[in-house]
Symmetry: C2
Subunit: 605 residues, 2 copies
């Protein structure tokens, strides 16, 4: 028997014992035309609003979540994001005032289809109007107004909560300093939409649905809702994760009481998940909220997205998970591209994960996504001011100190590169590593600077230092940058490790009005001698100190070779510096013979 | 109103006008313990059984297919695999006698749950016993026996039909000369299983299911079956394919009459598919056949699979599709590994495709999968006997003649390599290209030979020539070969294009008792001069004739470098040949200076 509970009373009061309720005064005009006159919002808060009233973090929950994002004390029930929210956690309730409201249309305290319809005296059911993510966000905005908060430190959300965070970032650009949108999309994929449709069809065709007025019936559309939930569950997990969970004991179903098929272990799990969900969630809310997700549409084409995101003024952190097939990484990359196109400050990471869409709720990849959130939040609270050499506090474990590496701290070329770039120039550093060059540029006064890096841990160091950095592979993913977007694009000791020289070089000079490359000179006299006299693959104690079979370098060329390529490709060399890294001295005479490192300033003719 | 149709009468007689029916005499004992006493098989045939009665091709259909695999004449309805089966098609009915039976448990003519249960006089419904893929195959075997056919040229199937082909190959190893198993798996993934479970739950919880005895009811479990089909449909398509189909007109549903949600274009499509399916398929058959798919289990661990496949004696062609997430390529790779472990003749290709699981039914990737089937079938009918130089009839379009390429026809080293390998040795050629070396070895008398190649078109040439070749990347996928599996493993002009030299070298000498490498010598005197005197990245008219920025070669080393690495790694050099390719002469004196190509025979100490 499904009981009708008014949103006023708060459903599952025992679980939501810390929930507060706000009755919003004026009617809410909805995007699709209706209005809601009686609107109650259930929410929970954590931490303390500071005197300047500028430390509020709004957390938006996903489809089936609620206001209980974290435990309020040791004795409290766990929240759905205890990993991330709490004292000393990435979203630190010692420093921030966290608000998590239950979503409009949900059944966990805020007005939704199970609330009383003032015009009928019955529950709304299917008479609850169509709502959008915009309406959900507007309800949150009205709650903040009600609480006297007119500025947010950050809006944070994942999945459907991520859609809300996106909506905040683009529709209320002055409200938050930062937006964190995780495992989300400007509009969901056709595949994800299809699964939502099938789930809704299962509910709508359940004979116990009674056109949504099942609240006073013997039973509600339990089977339909459970089936919708089962479909959802499969999409929240990656194939690998399911394999790990259910492969070994495939034919040994777990001991659960369920009316659903139990032949296989995965079946007993899904049946159990379906049954559990029906106990705590309302089918009309499921219909209402999945529809809101499906209707959410910030645009499809790159141009439309660029237009929408151009309005934003906050700092952005976008995260995706490599194995998330419900909100695939490409969608976060589309948004990253749109933000880049508008010169917005954005950091993006595709967190390597086996956990699928649910990764943001799980501890497995927390060391990366948790620290990215922590680093980003820390820089919102207090921007990083780092002294020379102090950057990269989070060390890349793949790159231990003293090891041969092209990302070595001994980078003579950085000083020269900083000097070659004007103080007011915008700069993109391709293959930025831990952001050492970016840091030097920032210290020197450059403001509009950004990095591209494919190593997750190096990227983490950049975020920790408050740099904007994009997780991407230089060989494939530079098209997201616009023509002439930066004054300078830098490839410092990176070009020789790239396979497709022509493309990367041409991308560099498309994106930057000028390019700066530094690379090891293969015609350095010691290397020549080694091949000529000893008949051995050249190797030095300097920048070419690797063995032929394990060097990160894939291309070997001299200053003369590079100069010839520039000439053939119509690339102008404006300036060249050459040096011998072993002796740390500049080389003027015959650099192609005497230098082991060259730095060139280039542009298109 | 769902009507009961006896399997005898043949459902949808209008569509299956060419179907024939065989009543099998003795009862069929089923794997799960029951038996079927009254068993009718519906089948269609194409082409003519030859006098030797050895040209029969058995085609096994997928879940919802039937006996009508292809049209019988111009006026006939299209079959589900008209692309592949017919006169002059890859499965050529001018040469082969094709039989396609409807599956046991289906509702398209062969006995299934909608047939009369002789012990009750009613339809079986849920009293139809649990059947397995093994039972389906046994029914097919009995049909062939009934028709007097005791030898097959090939068994071919995809998806659930692929499971049947696998079952044939491992359980009746003497029956067929060749097995083609497409987009299938030794057991389905937990994810695919989960979707099947949810679909079955939708049927089982439909109140019109009536425990399976809905045949004489007003209506059957139409909503449940339609929902199961909708889930299936989403899994048959790739995410990219759905994006292409439904992205542009997302909010413009198509004009279809359906009781299902029509808000979105993808919803109208799924609703339509669901409705159509209900008209032609029986819910009990859907339950019965998906359960058979889910129970199919040739083993999970590599050892178990190797054991199962070791029984097979036929030639194998395994195909997967890169975007198939329902039967992911890794599963075909697992089977390939098992066949390799047992030294079975196998060719595997992961066809690059955007079409998902359904790719095998679609024209998009037919140029590859169709030609692979054609090439494999041609070699079953008549093994390729090719003259020297005539190999590779299907040219790789990426590799036009005369272009600089490491797969150039001018391959001096082949003659030497063939001479270095004994006539009775087994050989694995890593990076075999179009199979030229394999072809020379076969002409010379070597029998147990195999190639590994990552280029799809080059691989096609190998299949066309009747070689066994595995589609794999040398940098990652050599673990599928067993220790000491081949007498000789060859890396001809390939090592220098590989990034991880150490791993590939060590894999070569793990898999082969001996290894043969040929590579360009970077210390060839002309190259030394170029760097030493001109200060330029070396380049020659011979094997190192590429520019530094676009060479396929990633590693540059001399004979001396390689010899040193061998010493450091405990690799013995048994023999070395050196040559100057420009002058086509062997080099004896100071090869590290005078040769531009070296061939070495290696082994572990």
């Amino acid at each position: 028997m499904t009981t009708l509970e008014s949103s006023d009373s708060g459903r599952s009061a025992a679980k939501l014992k810390h929930a507060e309720y706000a009755r919003l005064e004026a009617p809410l005009a909805l995007e699709h035309g209706d209005e809601l006159t009686d609107l109650v919002v259930c929410y929970e808060t954590y931490g303390t609003l500071n005197e300047k009233r500028d430390n509020t973090v709004l957390i938006c929950h996903a489809l089936s979540g609620d206001s209980h994002v974290a435990r309020h004390d040791e004795a409290d029930d766990p929240g759905w994001w205890d990993l991330v929210v709490g004292p000393g956690k990435p979203i630190d309730t010692d420093a921030c005032f966290v608000i998590c409201p239950n979503s409009l249309g949900s059944c966990r305290g805020t007005t939704g289809p199970n609330a009383l319809n003032p015009s009928t005296g019955h529950a709304y059911g299917q008479d609850f109007p169509t709502i959008t993510v915009g309406d959900i966000v507007e309800t949150q905005r009205r709650l903040l107004e009600h609480l006297g908060i007119d500025k947010l430190l950050a809006v944070v959300g994942a999945s459907m909560g991520g859609q809300q965070a996106l909506q905040w970032g683009v529709k209320h650009p002055d409200m938050a300093m930062g937006t964190i949108a995780i495992a989300t999309a400007p509009r969901i994929t056709s595949q994800a939409l299809a699964f939502d449709v099938v789930g809704r069809n299962a509910i709508l065709h359940d004979p116990n649905f009674h056109d949504g007025q099942y609240y006073d019936q013997e039973t509600g559309p339990k089977a339909g809702l459970a089936i919708a939930r089962m479909i959802g569950h499969v999409t929240y997990l990656s194939g690998e994760a399911m394999q790990e969970k259910f492969e070994a004991d495939r034919f040994q179903p777990r001991e659960v009481a369920t009316t659903f098929e139990k032949t296989f272990s995965v079946g007993s799990y899904l049946g159990h998940q379906g049954d559990k969900f029906v106990e705590r969630f309302d089918a009309n809310s499921y219909l209402c909220l999945t529809k809101a997700m499906d209707l959410f549409d910030l645009g499809h084409s790159p141009d439309a997205l660029a237009q929408v995101f151009s309005a934003s003024t906050c700092r952005w952190l976008l995260l995706s998970f490599s194995s998330d097939w419900l909100f695939p990484p490409a969608q976060s990359q589309d948004m990253t591209r749109a933000l880049i196109a508008g010169n917005r400050p954005v950091t993006y990471c595709n967190v390597s994960s086996n956990c699928g869409h649910d990764a943001f709720l799980l501890p497995e990849d927390f060391a990366v996504y948790g620290e990215l959130i922590r680093g980003f939040m820390r820089n919102l609270i207090e921007p990083c001011v780092c002294a020379p050499g102090s950057c990269g506090r989070l060390r890349d474990p793949d790159d231990p100190p003293g090891e041969a590496s092209i990302f070595s701290p001994d980078r003579l070329d950085y000083e020269h590169i900083v000097r070659l770039i004007p103080k007011d120039a915008s700069v993109l550093d391709l293959g930025c590593g831990k952001g050492e060059l970016l840091c030097r540029l920032r210290q020197r006064g450059n403001r509009d600077i950004m990095g591209v890096e494919r190593n997750e841990n190096a990227l983490l160091s950049c975020v920790w230092d408050g740099q904007n950095v994009i997780h991407a592979d230089l060989n494939e993913q530079l098209s997201q940058f616009a023509d002439g977007q930066f004054d300078y694009v830098v490839l410092s000791r990176t070009l020789q490790a790239v396979k497709d020289i022509d493309t990367v070089l041409s991308e560099m000079l498309r994106i930057g009005r000028k390019g700066i490359v530094s690379f090891p000179n293969f015609a350095y006299y010691k290397l020549r001698d080694m091949l000529a006299k000893e008949g051995r693959a050249p190797e030095s104690t300097g920048v070419l100190r690797h063995k032929w079979y394990n060097t990160p370098n894939l291309r070997f060329f001299s200053i003369a070779d590079f100069a010839e390529l520039c000439q053939e490709r119509g690339i102008v060399i404006h300036e060249m510096l050459a040096m011998e890294t072993e002796t740390r001295r500049d080389v003027v005479e015959d650099p192609n013979l005497n230098a082991d490192l060259a730095i060139l300033v280039l542009s298109r003719q």
